[in-house]
């Protein structure tokens, strides 16, 4: 991100450096006292997340940093979004739509929630349809939401079969060519990807973003 004021750079740095108290205080001051553009502040948040994502990929940051960054951005977004009086076209263009859910039989959601958040902050429209999602719900939601990517999450080994059934049902419904399918979760590997018929698997949220960017034609 170019052309930042010193104050804007400070916000990005504090967010990226996990200095939560300082970053939130500055963001609140900019938004509520100094009349900064809420869209601009959200843009700075995304710039900070780019740094966080990069540090994660480089092995400097780990899951706790992604989670804290998510929390900081959620807090700032909650203040910024009501202040947006956007003109049409002013909001950043979304890169694509992702439908995501934990497959039937599995109640785990931590990983899915982190993936949803990372996609959201990276300018994807994300529809999270929850946990223990029946096969038919995925079909109905694909028809209604028309996503570019479907993300199937699961932590237990029972999720292997649930993912396979879900993908087979998407295929039988004639929807397979319309979507790319990615899977993820604690036990997911290439063996499971091949077994389920998914297009790809990811081992973390940053990989999920990279997959979606690749599929929607965005340079990494």
């Amino acid at each position: 991100m170019e052309d930042m004021t010193d104050q804007e750079q400070q916000l990005v740095d504090w967010l990226a450096d996990m200095m939560e108290d300082e970053a939130l205080e500055l963001a609140k001051r900019m938004l509520l006292e100094e009349g900064a553009s809420p869209l601009r502040v959200l843009e700075l948040c995304r710039a900070a997340m780019d740094v966080v994502g990069k540090r994660f990929e480089e092995g400097e940051y780990f899951l706790p940093e992604l989670v804290l960054a998510g929390e900081m951005l959620e807090t700032i977004s909650a203040i910024a979004k009501p202040l947006i009086k956007s003109a049409p076209g002013e909001e950043p263009k979304k890169l694509g739509r992702v439908l995501i859910g934990t497959v039937h039989g599995d109640l785990h959601d931590i990983g899915k929630n982190i993936v949803s958040f990372m996609l959201d902050i990276n300018n994807f429209d994300v529809k999270d349809i929850g946990i223990d999602v029946p096969v038919q719900n995925f079909i109905d939601e694909i028809n209604a939401y028309n996503p570019d990517v479907v993300g199937l999450s699961g932590f237990l080994t029972l999720a292997f079969d649930s993912m396979k059934e879900t993908i087979e049902a998407i295929n039988q419904a004639g929807l397979r060519d319309r979507v790319k399918i990615m899977i993820g979760g604690g036990q997911i590997d290439e063996t499971v990807r091949a077994y389920t018929g998914a297009d790809a698997f990811g081992v973390n949220a940053v990989e999920a973003v990279a997959l979606c960017r690749g599929w929607t034609g965005v340079a990494a």
Binding site: L63, L68, I110, T157, Y195, V203
Partner: protein
Amino acid sequence: MSITLEIAEADKPVQTPEAKAAYDARWQRVMDCVNLKTPDRMPIGMHPTFWLAKYGNVTCKELMYDYDGTANIAERAIREFEPDVHSPMVLGTANGRSLEAIGFKQVKWPGHGVGDDQPYQYLDREYMKADEFDDFLFDPTGFYLQKYLPRVASAFEGIEDLPVFPGLHYFRLVAGIRNFAKPSVKQALTNIIHAAEEVDRHSMAHVNFTDRMTALGYPVSYTTTGVSPYDFIADYFRGATNMMKDLFRNKDKLLAILDKACVFLSRMIIKAGQASPCPIVFIPIHWAPDPFMSPKQFETYWWPSFRKMLMNLIDAGLIPMPMWEADCTKRLETIADIPAGKCIYWFERTDMVRAFEVLGDRVALRGNLSPSMMTTGNPAEVDAAVRHLAENVFHKGGKLILDCAFGLPDETPMENVRAMFDAGRKYGA
């Protein structure tokens, strides 16, 4: 008390000399590994949970609710595959009645939130709020009575109306017990006693099962479980995402609570372990995997209190068996810092050859056939995976107990289990 014990002893199934010889040979294999000696062949462990439902052709619900039926299925499995060590299968699966009696809120199980043929699943939630660290630190028992127990199990609802015990004295103590007459407290105590009686039946079913397996010549791998201080707080109090934020927001309190938890967890585990006929303590590890925190965070928050706990258990004559879930490759050098010949390290996704290179002169190893291969692969792939471990770990001097990555996955086809045991004997000789 002695009469009860004598009766219990008299009720124990008799071990024939042949069964004793088989038992001793199997146990010796495992203990040779622990003591870093080469056993006569690679021992094989069997650690199923809801795979038993598949094997016995019953639902998960039936497995959880039928003590005798589950014991029969588990016995058939053990007699068919003849593992060197088995897990406490009745204890680990047939707990539906106990969960129901205590009104357990931290798990969903068949008939209580999941279908009849699904395994139980833990609910990651915030069971202790961030502003309750101080309460816990000041008085953990008081925190349990006033806050935690009613939150996690409905049988305890009302127990929070008990008096606050510290401070009771003289006539204030006499007056203070009045709360025991409150209807809420009386109801809680009735519920707890009812639950305890069910838990006792479950425990006896477990004891009878392991005694019978002992008589048949099959040692149990462990009967005592433990938890690391960090995982205890992360999983059962703060919840996953809150604990990750605590690494930034509540650093000092987190370190203080981990120190405290180390003391009472060590005491609890040692007491249970020393009362058990088996010295091995199974400790599933959830929060050590490489992506879950930085090496610095691991060395600051996770490892010190766990290492201290390991040393406490070792000093008490127990054999800790942490099961390092997911990939812990970057932790190997750190977790090598323990005395040699005292622990079994069970790895899930950590490369076992690498683990052997780093830890081969420190600990016995256990694992780690991939869950995806076991469930979706074929017998030839299982054979090849066992051969890889035998050739590259066991026959190179690694004290490996062959097992699946975190026990037998629930969906594993029978032919893959047979392949695992056949290959273990073929390549482990």
